[in-house]
């Protein structure tokens, strides 16, 4: 059906036509085709902060001071000025338009990090219902830390990581949670996942998943710590039985395969080196064994199968560590396992990744997927599920309904076309699966909900700009946003950096883009890798 593009016609149509069932928000978003941030103010005079992002409800702009010790929060407002001429629309903007303060009001500046700590400027999570923000400060990283107290060898250690929970309305610090001599992946909030009021923090060093709850009053409450122990009272049970066992007999420690009991926690000997695997590792290995056992009817074939598929790789399975975690719903976690080297290296592509679905309540592993392997349960099954149900991996929660509208290949035909074409172009299917599954488990709140990134509204170059908030290589050419629907016109351009462009082509420049989720307002920040002040442009609708 041919829809008129004229905004007045659209408004009249809105008055008389009810949208098709379930599409009222989609229809409202179509107005963003008409209201675009087409005007650019280059090189805005702004304070020398590193701007992080807009909160998902658009109420706050989060930024950190250059020395990474203070948090500064702004409220987005709008430029207002008066004009006495006749043709005001075409008059140039007043000089105050070039000031950052015309668009943003500073609410407060709170020092979060003390002397030797720094705020992790890539880390920020927003709990929308209560307008709480979660920030992290940490001391310096220590490589080659000795593996003491149950730590994994090879994972660096940070002396102190503090998570601060702030009420963003007034900047009051509500609660803190400290982790000492631990290592949590804070870059891009990779080691932490927020779902509604539940927080999952992965301690790489001690191999624990801490589940916390953010209460309405603002306190962080520990719910459980999964890793060595699965249920809350496992530790108590094991300690009490350990005392009883130590006096009974001393069996020679040996590597028994696994305890095939489904629900019982294995009895552990209080030996110095634990021959028994406990907690989630036990659950994982027993799930794998049971799966392999069930494949064969015949007893001898079963033993052969177990030898080939399990015992041969036993040490590899035992050495798996938790890399990353996300919630699938309030009780289920998607956990990514891998080797120690892969956890700390920046490029995890070369290291195989294993995925497991874990039910926190029943402490059972529901599913396990290995890298593409024709012999056993492999990642291509996980890839098929990801292809069909991508949105469910994004965990839509009731408190953030905008998540349903971020374009993914499950809710948008253009994104699906893109996925299909890259799948057909892939030279090797296992490599393609690996590349796609690298993004699982998803980083929390890493995609901008701005309608300008909606693939059914606009077409843009994904390599230069996209909903994911990562830094990109900066180009001189403006980034074009073209309408998807007829008449396929160019609606607006985003050009980072100075208006005249860069004359010095030698220095590498990176850009980041902050789009307001509701207003036609965007910031583009271009910086060089040396500590020169960033060039900030404001793109807005005049």
């Amino acid at each position: 059906m041919f829809r008129r593009h004229n905004i007045t016609a659209r408004i009249f149509e809105r008055q008389i036509h009810t949208p098709a069932p379930g599409t009222s928000i989609h229809r409202a978003r179509r107005f963003y085709e008409n209201i675009v941030p087409a005007s650019t103010i280059y090189e805005v005079e702004c304070p020398d902060n590193s701007f992080r992002k807009f909160t998902e409800d658009g109420k706050y702009l989060i930024s950190f001071s250059r020395n990474h010790q203070d948090l500064i929060v702004y409220r987005p407002t709008w430029l207002s000025f008066s004009c006495k001429q006749e043709d005001c629309d075409n008059q140039p903007l007043p000089p105050k338009a070039k000031k950052f303060e015309s668009f943003f009001t500073q609410l407060y500046s709170v020092p979060l990090a003390s002397a030797n700590e720094l705020i992790c400027k890539d880390f920020f999570l927003y709990a929308e219902t209560n307008q709480f923000g979660l920030f992290a400060t940490s001391t310096a990283q220590i490589y080659d830390a000795p593996a003491t107290g149950g730590a994994i060898q090879g994972v660096p250690s940070i002396e102190k990581i503090t998570f601060h929970l702030l009420r963003l309305e007034d900047g009051v610090v509500l609660d803190e949670r400290v982790f000492r001599n631990d290592y949590i992946n804070l870059a891009h909030s990779m080691g932490v996942f927020l779902f509604d009021d539940l927080l999952a923090i992965v301690s790489l060093r001690y191999q624990r998943i801490h589940i916390l709850q953010i209460r309405d009053s603002g306190s962080l409450v520990d719910l459980r710590a999964i890793g060595e122990f699965c249920r809350e009272d496992d530790e108590l049970f094991l300690n009490s039985s350990a005392q009883a066992l130590s006096s009974v007999d001393k069996r020679a420690p040996h590597h028994t395969p696994v305890n095939n009991a489904v629900n019982g926690s294995p009895l552990e000997q209080p030996a110095q080196e634990n021959p028994f695997l406990s907690g989630i590792k036990q659950r994982l290995l027993s799930f794998i064994v049971r799966g392999i056992q069930n494949e064969e009817k015949d007893e001898t074939m079963r033993i052969q199968s177990l030898k080939k598929k399990f015992y041969f790789h036993f040490q590899d399975y035992v050495d798996l560590i938790i890399w990353k975690v996300q919630f699938l719903d309030r009780h289920h976690l998607l956990i990514k396992f891998g080797s120690v080297d892969g956890a700390v290296s920046r490029n995890a592509d070369n290291h195989p990744a294993f995925f497991a679905v874990y039910n926190m309540e029943s402490t059972e592993i529901i599913a396990f997927y290995q890298p593409f392997n024709i012999l056993q349960m492999s990642s291509d099954e996980l890839y098929l599920l990801f292809e069909q149900y991508c949105d469910h991996f994004h965990v839509p929660s009731k408190s953030s309904p905008y998540m349903n509208f971020i374009s993914s290949h499950s809710n948008n035909i253009h994104a699906l076309e893109q996925l299909r074409s890259s799948k057909n172009k892939a030279t090797s299917f296992p490599l393609f699966i690996k590349k796609v599954l690298v993004s699982l488990p998803f980083n929390c709140q890493s995609q901008s909900p701005s309608p300008y990134f909606d693939q059914s509204l606009f077409r843009f170059d994904e390599k230069l700009i996209s909903a994911a908030d990562r830094h990109r290589q900066s180009t001189d050419h403006p980034i074009k946003f073209i309408l998807r629907r007829p008449p396929h016109t160019l609606k607006f351009k985003i050009k980072p950096g100075p208006e005249a462009g860069i004359t010095d082509c030698r220095t590498k420049r990176i850009s980041s883009f902050l789009f307001h989720p509701i207003l036609p307002l965007a910031l583009s920040v271009q910086q060089t890798l040396f500590l020169q002040p960033a060039v900030v442009n404001i793109h807005f609708r005049r």
């Binding site: 049971r290 799966g291 069930n294 494949e295 064969e296 009817k297 699938l328 719903d329 289920h332 679905v357 529901i366 599913a367 349960m377 291509d380 099954e381 098929l384 599920l385 292809e387 069909q388 149900y389 469910h392 991996f393 799948k423 057909n424 892939a426 030279t427 090797s428 299917f429 296992p430």
Partner: protein, 103 residues
């Protein structure tokens, strides 16, 4: 039939339109009862103890559980059929099966 269709009072092009319409007298309610239909058999009645509730697990988790149950259920039939593709509805099953590694 009710008074809301009192179109005799509404403006129209021709004043003689709707002039023969007699509005319903509200003091004497209409004796017509709507026709009711009764089933002639009991084949479609729900079981008396049926409770309809929504599934707590979302569809993705249901898939994980289903595949996990398939793997862990002791097999009595041929062991080579590992995938439960035939049982559950896959709207793009044909697409899924065409995802062979290209040569």
């Amino acid at each position: 039939m009710g008074s809301s269709w009192d179109v005799g009072n509404w403006p129209s092009f021709d004043p003689h339109n709707f002039s023969q319409l007699r509005p319903n007298d509200p003091s004497a309610p209409s004796k017509k009862t709507p026709i009711t239909y009764h089933p002639t058999h009991e084949r479609t009645l729900p079981p008396p103890d049926q409770v309809i509730s929504s599934e707590a697990k979302n569809i993705l988790l249901r898939q994980f559980y289903q595949r996990g149950d398939e793997k862990l259920r002791p097999k009595r039939a041929a062991p080579e059929n590992l995938s439960p593709e035939q049982e559950c509805k896959h709207p793009r099953a044909s697409f899924a099966s065409s995802s062979e590694p290209p040569k």
